[in-house]
């Protein structure tokens, strides 16, 4: 397998890893958001709870969850190593650097944006995944499904959490804005006719994910107060 390790440890191989995991995580975002948007339906979260329960109990999904975690870890670890070696490639910094003249701020800030997303992710996992999976047994809703919906109402009632969620989601949005189309380029997918399409999809996708995720905490904060 030496050819494989050769490839994966080369600069381009590392980029391939970043883009494959990144695109995989994008697909997760799409599923995640689709289910979350169900929470906006005026049915007291019944359908949302059902979907959430399915996602946390189906054996196939549970298996994919492991892959998902692996994807996160590889994406994060790889970016850490790449960033470190990139910093080593310029030991003496410029005194004056007009970065905005040649590139967008968010394309140059993928590490910071990614770190913000990671920070948010940890809080987010603590709020929902760890809470529901390990700490407490969720009460049942009127259909007898574990009631994730009520947990959401409680979390988003806190204005500070709301702000953290919004920051996290916007960091994610800018991360995607560069990351999505960058991933395709790293995979060598390039065509005079289709590359603009990929770039368009990337922008649309970033807006959809950002606004979709942003609307939920805001909606819950204003329209779904806890009962007590």
């Amino acid at each position: 397998m030496s050819w494989f390790t050769h490839m994966m440890t080369s600069s381009i191989g590392k980029k391939v890893v970043m883009s494959v995991t990144g695109l995989f995580l994008c697909s997760f975002l799409l599923v995640h958001l689709s289910i979350n948007l169900l929470s906006l339906l005026p049915d007291n979260g019944l359908l949302f709870n059902e979907a959430a329960h399915f996602m946390s109990s189906n054996p196939l999904i549970r298996t994919i969850e492991i892959v998902l975690f692996a994807g996160f870890i590889i994406h994060i670890a790889q970016s850490y190593f790449i960033t470190r070696s990139n910093q080593k490639a310029r030991p003496v910094k410029y005194a004056v650097n007009a970065g905005n003249a040649n590139s967008t701020w968010y394309s140059r800030s993928m590490g910071i944006l990614g770190s913000l997303v990671l920070f948010f992710l940890i809080i987010h996992l603590r709020h929902f995944w760890i809470e529901s999976r390990f700490l407490t047994e969720l009460p049942a809703d009127s259909n007898g499904t574990p009631d994730m919906y009520t947990l959401m109402i409680e979390v988003f009632a806190n204005p500070i959490y709301n702000i953290i969620y919004l920051l996290g989601v916007f960091a994610l949005g800018y991360h995607l804005m560069h990351g999505f189309q960058s991933a395709w380029r790293s995979l060598g997918i390039m065509h005079r006719k289709y590359t603009p399409v990929i770039q368009g999809i990337g922008i649309a996708f970033s807006f959809f994910i950002t606004l979709g995720f942003a609307i939920i905490p805001v909606f819950f904060y204003f329209f779904r107060q806890p009962n007590q």
């Binding site: 050819w3 050769h6 490839m7 600069s11 410029y94 004056v96 007009a98 790293s186 060598g188």
Partner: protein
């Protein structure tokens, strides 16, 4: 025009450097940026000081020898322009201009604004060629090449190897340079036989030299004096993945 220059001075690769400030009182707007440095150096020599060392040769934007990071940008503020072709009419009377050398681990400073770019030569030596000995060639027209392929290969081949891409990249990545050569040769039928081994060897050498990794910011393309497209980087990636995964050859 009156111009104040803040210039990086460094005696050699071992000693530490610092900025020195110089004032020039009669800069003509018809001067090129390097001619302004000629005037500065004449002045320094007459004052018994050490002139500023900087790389330059053809002064018509093609040899790739001149460098300089001017006010935070490789080759200064004008698009598609080398430092030698940058003229003072693009600056204003009273401006302060900060001039630094290219900064990258694989481009160590030799003196002042002069850096060592021989890493680029070593990358070419590792595979940036077609292995054809003199006298081996068949008739030049025996392989027709579609015009758009020839044009695209030419656009990539226009790289002058100045290193602005590395200097402008926040990661000091040399991908634009490497991709330009890989693209040129992989598109042309003459370069196809060595397509796989070439890209793998050149990327390996590039990594060994200590260049950073590409994060697709596009700064290289924006600062390239020959406006080499980042599409070449995508092509490099594709060529590499193809060579590593799809090719049955062990490369």
């Amino acid at each position: 025009m009156k111009i104040t220059l803040k210039v990086w001075r460094q005696k050699n690769s071992k000693e530490k450097g610092q900025f020195e400030t110089y004032s020039l009182n009669s800069v003509s707007e018809d001067m090129s940026f390097l001619e302004m440095f000629d005037v500065l150096n004449e002045q320094l020599i007459r004052e018994g000081k050490d002139p500023v060392a900087f790389d330059h040769d053809c002064r018509e934007g093609i040899c790739g020898m001149c460098s300089m990071y001017i006010n935070g940008r490789a080759h200064g503020p004008m698009q598609g322009t080398t430092t030698c072709q940058l003229h003072m009419r693009h600056f204003n009377d009273g401006d302060t201009i900060v001039v630094e050398p290219w900064r990258a681990e694989p481009f160590p400073v030799i003196k002042d604004l002069v850096v060592n770019r021989s890493a680029f030569d070593r990358i070419i030596a590792s595979g940036g060629y077609v292995s054809v000995n003199t006298g081996n060639a068949q008739d030049a027209n025996s392989l027709p090449i579609a015009k758009h392929i020839a044009d695209e290969a030419f656009a990539a081949a226009a790289c002058i190897g100045c290193g602005a891409c590395v200097a402008a990249c926040k990661n000091s990545s040399a991908m634009l340079f490497v991709s330009a050569k890989v693209s040129q040769l992989s598109m042309l039928p003459q370069g196809k036989p060595e397509r796989e081994s070439r890209v793998v060897a050149m990327v390996k050498k590039m990594d060994e030299e200590g260049f950073g990794n590409c994060t697709n910011t596009g700064a290289c393309e924006a600062e390239c004096p020959k406006e080499i497209s980042v599409m070449n980087i995508a092509r490099l990636n594709r060529e590499y993945i193809r060579a590593a995964l799809a090719s049955e050859e062990d490369v």
